[in-house]
Amino acid sequence: MRDKKKQLLWLGIGWVLIWLSQPLPADDVQGYLKFFAHPGLTSPYKLNRFGTRLQLSLKKTHQLVDLFASFNFDLDERYSNYQDQATSNRATSFQIYPVEIYLSFHLASVDLRLGKQFIFWGRTDWINPTDNITPWDYTNITAEIEDYRLAVNAIKLNWYFGQSNLEMVFVPYFQPNRTGLDIPEAQTELPEQKPANWQEGLRFSSAISGMNFSFSYWRGFDLFPSVIPEREGLIIKYQPQQVLGVDFDYAWGRFVFKGEGAYYLTKDRQGIDPFSRNPFVYFVLGSDCTLSNPLSLNLQYVEKRVLKWHDGLMSPQERKITRSASARLAYKKEGYYSLQLISVYNFADGDYFLLPIFNYEVADGLNLYAGATFFAGPANSPFGRNKDLSRAFIEIKYSF
């Protein structure tokens, strides 16, 4: 009932925005129409998702103020084959929801953005240890970022001085990753809504002699859940954490060197609670390389080191040191087609993630996307656990 009310509210807001957009030049209203099919890649090979989306975006600029609103109208059929196959989990739905909706104020040296927005931190490719604000939807990784990242309601202030920028972010309501984790007997407990649980952070960015760098601090909650046994049964919780981060990029010839690292200070500071994450260090070092004109390669080394390690007190899923590598190979014939292969490989368990994406530009504004999301590896490994989220995707998108 509450959901219905919420949908009606969004429908109302959507209509108001469309109505507001009537006297506007056509250029201010944009969007796309997309048909999509997501067949599952694991037995029993159900068509996980099949549907149509209309996205309407309105951008209106008035002197120092921008209004941006983007709504999705989804007519969607879903079948979750990662759940218990005995209970059919097929759902047909019509949903209207905002992708982003915000007001931006641009003053001489300050930008202020209020509302639902994407906020990304970090400079490395695909894996960003300092990026803990905008959650992921791991159940819906496709060609476009707005399909698998979830905008947050936030206040973001950027203060620019010289070559530097100080960004302040405030997110009052916590929104977790969508991981597809489904434990029927477990209860999910989101952080209580109180000032002490508001999330906030700072990021200082600058440049010296062609090198861009940032230092950041984030106080918030782990976007991934922890499953904790309590008297009443299992509880899915999101633990508080503080993250101190640093990142840089530097261009040299055909290369752009990138690095990003973070120290995570978790609730279990001494490492004595086996159900909470210990403090850890997480970093990525790598480089983009232009191999030949339309062919580029990004290679990265990723390492996570758990601190305060106590044998026997650690979760069996935790490793003291986890080493991985990621790669992105891209071939782009701009205006015609592009091929991209993104991959992440964990050395310890031999599990991996693959995301090949093919985009063919049929005509100006008309694109065909085809690709697949593969999670593979031993059953208890980070990617192996998500095998059932593997699927292909085919999408036709007309932008206007």
Binding site: Q30, I145, E146, Y160, N212, A251, V256, N293, E334, D364
Partner: protein, 256 residues
């Protein structure tokens, strides 16, 4: 004998002054370092044709000279809708690597791209990133090949060869032949040769207009003789020396 020697010395010393024939570098200096404008903005319509398939891109461009040898360019894509909002920022440096940033609205992120990707195709066109940037005078050595006639017009023909193998590798050009209009100091035609020495592209300035006292190439056609494709750039709504603010050439503006 002494008399002949004196006459010979006078002749040798004063011949260059008497002929007043500019060197290749002097000609290209005038072209590259045109001092008539400090900044400009324009709307560009780029039409890319390959195998009878045509793609259109509309771009808003801002450019400014920071120093005589350094300039900044920012471009924002207006059309087609699926690339609208894409932004490109180029900050040129004389003594270190240029900075290049690409803003992709689908990713909501600014990505730094390699400076030596300058030989790469600009948005899939037959213009490279190097072609659309301000050519660096010191990247090339020049030779005046004399006055040549093209389409009934007398032009200086100047050959440019890369100053180092790295420049050749970065730009993809082993040689460029420029035809320079000696009145407007504009390149009206150029031939680009690939690293194997084969003719690769031909640039034609189809239209040159005088805007605020400066002669501008307002319609460029780049023919790729190897792929048989071609790209056209038409400049409209050109404004010069409006005092474009420095904040336009920043990552902040790129993502707005």
């Amino acid at each position: 004998m002494k008399k002949i020697l004196i006459i010979f010395l006078i002749f040798t010393l004063f011949t260059p002054l008497l002929s007043q024939e500019p060197t290749g570098r002097e000609i290209m200096s005038k072209v590259v370092l045109k001092t008539g404008w400090q900044d400009m903005e324009a709307e560009i319509t780029m039409t890319i044709t390959l195998r009878s398939r045509t793609r259109t891109r509309k771009i808003k461009m801002y450019s400014r000279k920071r120093t005589e040898a350094e300039s900044d360019i920012v471009m924002k894509f207006l059309y087609p809708p699926d690339v609208a909002g894409t932004g490109f920022l180029l900050i040129e440096h004389e003594k270190r690597e240029d900075e290049r940033y690409l803003y992709l609205p689908a990713l909501r992120r600014i990505r730094r791209i390699a400076a030596s990707g300058k030989g790469g195709a600009f948005m899939g066109s037959d213009f490279s990133y190097y072609d659309i940037g301000k050519p660096k005078l010191n990247d090339w050595q020049y030779k005046n090949l004399g006055i040549k006639e093209i389409d009934g017009q007398q032009c200086y023909q100047v050959e440019a060869t890369p100053i180092s193998p790295q420049i050749e590798k970065d730009t993809g050009y082993s040689r460029i032949i420029h035809w320079v209009d000696p009145e407007k100091w504009n390149v009206i035609r150029a031939e680009y040769y690939d690293r194997r020495g084969k003719l690769w592209k031909i640039l034609e300035a189809k239209e040159i207009q005088e805007i605020s006292g400066v002669w501008f190439q307002t319609h460029l056609l780049m023919k790729n003789v190897q792929s048989e494709g071609q790209s056209e750039m038409k400049f409209e709504k050109i404004a010069i020396n409006k005092g474009l603010p420095a904040h336009l050439f920043t990552q902040r503006f790129l993502s707005r």
